[in-house]
């Protein structure tokens, strides 16, 4: 790993250099929220706080076309109509700049589902291959951060191509991947080999600011044990308003819907983010709904992240501990509290039906 140094005043020049040949997404303030938007000259990245919205859309857009289709009438026989379908993969070269380790770790959760031996999602895969992550290590924890609970840390390099650490006067810039190393050839970067100790101190302080670690290793079994304890689920979901903010703002939530849009003889098949906290998510054509109440739906959301996914994927939790589902929940539902209670509170025997 090569250590370089970027002086703060050279940051705009480096971003401009990176943006010369690709889309560079940076966190910027838009009204009251910090969101990722393409960099252009004059844009001021917000790097002193976690973005409200993670850069999930860089690889998994909120809405994208999977294919276009066209109905074509046979001029000889207007009753005969053929249909043509075209795949629409859109994956411009991109750099995501200034995301936090938790934001990037989210894609490692996606990878096991979207690009695995059973199935490969070509849209996801193309963007994953064309996107680099220049990640910013955190200096300080925010009040809902818990990345250290799920095996990560404020300076976790997993999934990043380059790791930046804020140090006096600028950033220590370290390559994590081979592709990241190529970004370090910029003449704007100075030698940083003597400043690694400074960066390590930042990493240590940030980890300490997160406080005590709580280990959720018993969560997968305990959540299953509580599956039929609907009193527990009604209790922990009582204040939930089913708004779905937790899913849309989560770097590891990957559920989607597919719908067709047609205009005249043409149209598109569209994939959009979907939300397991919505009643309609599992409503079947017959009218039966296996998850009819918000208690059932929150149970699935927490169960997926802390039980089902780790059971399938070598114990890895489908949660990166970014805390957005806690911070940005309008009624402060706290997933940490739910998982802890599931592990620590005795399970009630199911009522006989």
């Amino acid at each position: 790993m090569a250590a370089k140094y970027l002086a703060s005043e050279k940051l705009p020049a480096w971003l401009a250099e990176l943006a010369a040949s690709r889309v560079v997404l940076v966190p910027v303030k838009e009204r009251d929220a910090v969101v990722f938007r393409p960099y252009s000259e004059g844009v001021k990245p917000v790097l002193d706080r976690q973005a409200n919205v993670p850069p999930k859309a860089s690889i998994f857009p909120a809405s994208e076309s999977l294919m276009s289709f066209k109905y074509i009438k046979n001029p000889e026989d207007l009753g005969q109509v053929a249909v043509e379908v075209h795949e629409t993969v859109d994956a411009p070269p991109t750099v995501v700049f200034g995301g936090r380790p938790c934001d990037v770790r989210g894609f490692n959760i996606f990878d096991r589902v979207y690009d695995c031996p059973k199935v490969q999602d070509p849209y996801y895969k193309a963007r994953r291959e064309n996107t680099l992550f220049v990640t910013l290590a955190c200096e300080d924890a925010e009040n809902a951060c818990f990345c250290h609970w799920v095996g990560s840390s404020p300076s976790d390099p997993v999934g990043s191509d380059v790791l930046l650490t804020p140090i006096q006067g600028g950033y220590l810039v370290e390559d994590v991947s081979k592709r990241g190393k190529a970004l370090l050839s910029s003449k704007l970067l100075a030698d940083g080999s003597k400043r690694s100790t400074e960066a390590k101190a930042v990493h240590k302080a940030a980890l300490e600011s997160l406080g005590e670690v709580w280990n959720p290793e018993k969560a997968p079994a305990k959540l299953l044990e509580k599956f039929d304890d609907m009193g527990f689920w009604e209790d922990v979901s009582a204040k939930c308003v089913s708004c779905g903010a937790c899913t849309y703002l989560c770097p590891t939530c990957y559920c989607f819907n597919v719908t067709d849009e047609r205009s005249g003889m043409k149209g598109e098949r569209i994939r959009t983010w979907d939300n397991c906290m919505s009643y309609l998510f599992t409503l079947e054509a017959s009218g039966h709904n296996p998850r009819p109440t918000k208690a059932h739906r929150l149970k699935n959301r927490v169960g997926h992240k802390f039980s089902y996914y780790p059971d399938i994927h070598e114990g890895i939790f489908a949660c990166c501990g970014c805390g957005r589902c806690i911070k940005l929940c309008p009624v402060s539902v706290d997933i940490r509290e739910i998982v802890r209670l599931a592990v620590e509170r005795p399970t009630a025997k199911p009522e006989k039906s």
């Binding site: 999977l66 294919m67 289709f69 109905y71 009753g79 005969q80 109509v81 053929a82 249909v83 379908v85 795949e87 589902v113 979207y114 690009d115 031996p117 059973k118 199935v119 490969q120 999602d121 070509p122 299953l224 599956f227 039929d228 990957y254 559920c255 989607f256 819907n257 597919v258 719908t259 067709d260 849009e261 047609r262 149209g267 098949r269 994939r271 979907d274 397991c276 998510f281 599992t282 409503l283 079947e284 054509a285 017959s286 039966h288 296996p290 998850r291 059932h296 699935n300 169960g303 997926h304 039980s307 089902y308 059971d311 399938i312």
Partner: protein
């Protein structure tokens, strides 16, 4: 890792035949437009497919023709929503999308040398039809074949064109039932689980396969247990809302299992292992 084909891209197919089964159920026979792909297409009894009308959307149906009869792929559709309504309005020559085969299948291989009792209710006969026809086309591989097929009324009974064969052939035993007396009905009257108990099939070296409305399945499972069928001698198929069909989009999971990939076919023993979320 080798690159797999795009799992969301449907094959274009032409509707070659359509006919009503009941007032709310219609059957479509489709053929893939690419003759080589149609020739190479293979599936196993019980597998499903996503049928789409471009501009309206996709929905999941079992391929209810057997893999031993590959002139067409047959789908039987009950009108329930937007996509199924549009499917009901299609005519011969219309173009649809097919993503198939998806999911798992009936264990037709391990059933060899065993007797099979089919218990189908209403549209739930569709997946059973595939396996039943497959077994009849490979009759020597299986022992006794018994079918109990029920519907609310004679009008609600699908696959009427199969019934003359199924009720008369010597190498299977067929019982048809409806819920209430109807003029001209010459078969049984009574709810499926009750008729099944009357039939009293032996569980010895036998597997029961059932599909139908949830309430029918619930009481049929109880009847089968009364008759002495073990949990691994009962097989059913699950219906769930599905979108991607390849285990990603997240709505058809029951705990760690995805009905679109790990199902739709499950033994009762497997179902009992899953969280209670049917």
């Amino acid at each position: 890792m080798t690159t797999l084909p795009n799992p969301y891209l449907p094959e274009i197919a032409t509707v070659v035949e359509t006919f009503p089964e009941t007032p709310s159920i219609k059957t479509f026979r489709v053929v893939l437009n690419n003759p080589e792909r149609m020739k190479a297409f293979s599936f196993k009894p019980g597998q499903v497919g996503q049928l789409s009308v471009f501009g309206v959307g996709e929905a999941t149906f079992v391929i209810n023709s057997p893999p031993t009869r590959m002139d067409y792929l047959q789908f039987t559709v009950m009108m329930a929503g937007e996509v199924t309504s549009k499917l009901h309005s299609l005519n011969v020559g219309d173009q649809v999308g097919v993503r198939a085969p998806l999911g798992n299948w009936f264990p037709y291989d391990t059933l060899k040398g065993k007797s099979v009792v089919f218990v189908g209710g209403g549209i739930g006969m569709a997946p059973l039809r595939t396996l039943l026809l497959y077994m009849l086309d490979n009759r020597k591989d299986y022992k006794d074949i018994t079918l109990l097929y029920g519907a609310r009324s004679p009008d609600d009974m699908a696959f009427k064109y199969d019934l003359p064969d199924w009720t008369t052939r010597k190498d299977m035993s067929t019982t048809l039932t409806i819920d209430r007396e109807a003029p001209g009905w010459e078969h049984k009257v009574g709810l499926i689980p009750n008729v099944l108990l009357e039939m009293n099939p032996s569980p010895k070296n036998t597997v029961a396969i059932t599909c139908g409305p949830p309430i029918m399945i619930k009481f049929t499972l109880q009847a089968l247990q009364k008759l002495g069928f073990g949990d691994d001698q009962i097989i059913t198929t699950l219906e769930k809302r599905m979108k991607c069909g390849v285990g990603i989009c997240g709505r058809c999971n029951i705990g760690t299992k995805y009905v679109c990939m790990d199902g739709p076919v499950f033994t009762y023993a497997e179902l009992k292992q899953l969280p209670n979320e049917l």
